[in-house]
Amino acid sequence: MATPPESVPVPPVPGRPARVRGPAQDVAGLGIGRAVGFLAPALLLIGAFLVFPAIWTIYIGITNYRLTGVEAVSPSIVGLSNYTRALNDALFHNALWLTLLFVLGSAIIGQNILGFALAWTMRRARPAVRRTVEALVLLAWILPSTVVAYLWIAFFDRDTGTLNSILGTQGTAWLIDYPMVCLVLFNTWRGTAFSMMLYSSALQAVPPSQLESARMVGASGWQTLRDIVFPHIRGHVLTNTLLISLWTANDFSPFLLTKGGPNHESETVPVYIYNVALQGGELGYSSAISFLLLIANLLVALLYLRLLRRRS
């Protein structure tokens, strides 16, 4: 222990060294107070717009709160009866099933495959062609939903619809007779841009030398995809599938096309929640269902994090 050469008081070190635990703990050297200060605005926003509404939803979900009538003034706590009702509600089961079909058809199969196919074929295309195709696909993605919904209603319309004119099937009410098929087509068209872009950049990660070798040994297109391309982009496929599945499951734009109709035949869970809450005025019950949807989302997100961690 060396004593200071002189008994001059040591000047105070900025950042109060006694409490600094080392570079690994506090790289920025902010100290806890300032770090919290920096974080606070973000946390407040998350708290106000994410955590609070979620908790509020849980709370309303255990009441019989309604939009109008006596229960709008004095709702009472009904415990878990909204949840038990949901478990026995044929319309809720119907909504879950339709959501599953919607996700499977338009996201997992539709957007994934179409997005990949576009990315794969456009990779070698002339830049002008590629840019045009990309612009068109992107346009479908960035247009406002209301505009897009209007265009699709016009496309599917029974009396003067474009589709009927093309196919010569005058009088076929596509949105009434095949509502889910229409929604799957619509959403595939609508959301493919994201998958296309993600796969385009993922394909850059495939070493050209390997593709070249595959060609040299005479591998077929499918073999190249399976043995060379796929192993390189597996992580991207996973990320993409999970993200678009979550988005699709929570997507409300089906409402703009069919309002869940005819007679609940295209009522996915988000649309069902809206119809129960506002058409039926049952805010309590719809909150309970919203909470179930939230849980399902969290589970999928957890699964996703798990899988990602395992990969790395």
């Binding site: 635990r21 703990q25 806890i32 946390l43 998350i46 708290g47 955590v51 609070f52 908790i55 509020w56 709370y59 309303i60 009441t63 709160y65 309604r66 939009l67 109008t68 009538g69 006596v70 229960e71 709008a72 003034v73 004095s74 709702p75 029974r158 009396d159 009410a173 949105l175 009434i176 007779d177 069919t258 309002k259 109709g261 005819p262 007679n263 506002l278 058409q279 039926g280 005025g281």
Partner: protein
């Protein structure tokens, strides 16, 4: 180790949030009940907003035009003479009634919304129960002032009911209406049917339908069904048929359940939509009612059950949403028959249903006194007459009706032939939910379910709406 674990962070935020939300839900019943009703009574600068489901160039355009171009300027002028600077805005809407109602309910539940609100008579009950609307005398604070208004004497009791709940006045009704069977005389002539057609039973209606079915590209009969049309299905479909079986939706304190009369109505739907007399797809479309209007105007629908609104605002040659230049000669109208002569409610041969809206004062208005003045002004004989602008409509005021209805044979027909036979919906808070259950039952039938299955589903739904089995009839 001072790193805050993420879970802990979440918990802190969570508990902070739950502290915030304790006792927020529905607690605010105090509202304007405790507010000073004379607030801003002497204000020299007043701002009022009128809200209604009508919009220039769209739905109920005439109403919006009148409010914006005549009513508001006149009121502003009258107030200016008293030294008060009033600004009145019109907040128009052009949406489906259900959507408009949701918007109102959401606004009122957050203590906002227009100062004067146009509501359908059947919403008054549930809005009143929710505390969204208060009796006029509570909001204005002076029962003598409200009940002493001389306009009440001109409004028949049955029409006053449209703005009442539990024996209290919540709003001033804006007239009433009646339902008839409209038919296209041009198509009738082609099918060899008379131009002065008046069916005497449901069989007569289907027989005319069979004759019309032979015309190519024509849907013989369209009677509103399904959930997409909302209350239009109930008012222009189920209820007129139901009273034709001798039953009403609520009698002796009990709601109609799965009874033979209900099944007769559903069977009639089945006989129309299951045999190609009606177009079931139209009833399932999201915009089906608007399409039914357009198709009738395009001579593609033979018979359509609608209210006088259809005559005044839909096929009206100048401002209708589906104009028919030859309306006066091409569109016929007939009383709605009971299922068989004498089989209707009260033993009637013919039946109808009526409804109507009312204008209420938002209890949260900043200017309750001025809002009442505007409401009085709006319903004065002078303004009610001005609102017609030469056209006829069954207004709330008998003095005005006596003058104007003679000019329009169709409206005169409704006033003299239909209104004496008509029925009103019960002004009970449960009604909209029962109505939704009825709509679902017709949706099931036209979607292919059996009458029995649909009626059973209805029974379950109506019991839930009524609150208990004892409040529902069945057999």
């Amino acid at each position: 180790m001072r790193r805050i674990p993420p879970l802990f962070r979440l918990a802190v935020l969570g508990s902070a949030a739950s502290v915030l939300l304790t006792g927020c839900l529905g607690s605010s019943d105090s509202g304007s009940g405790d507010q000073d009703t004379s607030r801003n009574a002497d204000a020299k600068k007043v701002e009022l907003v009128i809200g209604a489901n009508s919009v220039k160039g769209g739905k109920n355009a005439a109403g919006a035009e009148f409010t914006e171009d005549v009513l508001i300027p006149k009121f502003v002028e009258a107030q200016k003479a008293k030294g008060v600077d009033v600004t009145v805005k019109f907040q128009g809407d052009g949406s489906d009634d259900e959507v408009y109602k949701q918007k109102l309910a959401l606004g009122l539940s957050n203590k906002t919304g227009p100062d004067l609100i146009n509501v359908d008579g059947i919403w008054v009950g549930e809005f009143a129960q929710a505390g969204y609307l208060k009796p006029l005398s509570d909001t204005v604070g002076d029962a003598a002032k409200v009940d002493g208004w001389d306009g009440w004497k001109q409004i028949p009791d049955s029409v006053q009911q449209l703005g009442m709940f539990d024996g209290k006045r919540y709003g001033v009704p804006g007239g009433t209406d009646g339902r008839v069977l409209y038919f296209n005389k041009k198509l009738f002539a082609q099918a060899g049917l008379p131009a002065d057609w008046q069916p005497k039973s449901w069989d007569d209606v289907t027989a005319a339908g069979q004759a019309l079915k032979k015309l190519p590209g024509v849907t013989p009969i369209q009677i509103n069904a399904g959930t997409a049309m909302g209350e239009a299905t109930t008012m222009q479909g189920i209820l007129p048929l139901l009273v034709g079986t001798g039953a009403t939706i609520n009698a002796d304190g009990k709601w109609l359940g799965n009874t033979p009369q209900l099944r007769q109505v559903l069977d009639f739907y089945k006989s129309i939509y299951g045999t190609g007399l009606g177009d079931p797809v139209l009833q399932r479309e999201a915009k089906g009612r608007d399409k039914s209007f357009a198709q009738f105007a395009a001579n593609k629908i033979g018979i359509l059950l609608e209210g006088d609104y259809f005559w005044r605002s839909v096929v009206e040659p100048k401002a209708g949403v589906a104009k028919m230049a030859d309306r006066d000669t091409a569109v016929g109208y007939a009383l709605i028959p009971a299922n068989r002569p004498g089989g209707g409610v009260k033993g009637q041969d013919f039946v109808s249903m009526s409804g109507g809206g009312a204008t209420a004062i938002n209890p949260n208005t900043k200017f309750p006194q001025q809002a009442w003045e505007l409401l009085e002004f709006m319903n004065s004989a002078e303004m009610v007459k001005a609102g017609l602008n030469g056209a006829a409509k069954i207004t709330q005021r008998t003095d005005v009706n006596a003058e104007v209805l003679a000019g329009d044979p169709m409206l005169n027909f409704v006033a003299t032939k239909v209104l004496p036979l008509t029925q009103y919906r019960p002004g009970l808070a449960e009604y909209p939910r029962v109505s939704a259950a009825l709509q679902q039952a017709t949706a099931d039938v036209i979607g292919g379910k059996s009458t029995d299955a649909a009626a059973k589903g209805y029974q379950t739904a109506v019991e839930a709406a009524a609150g208990s089995k004892d409040k529902v009839t069945s057999n």
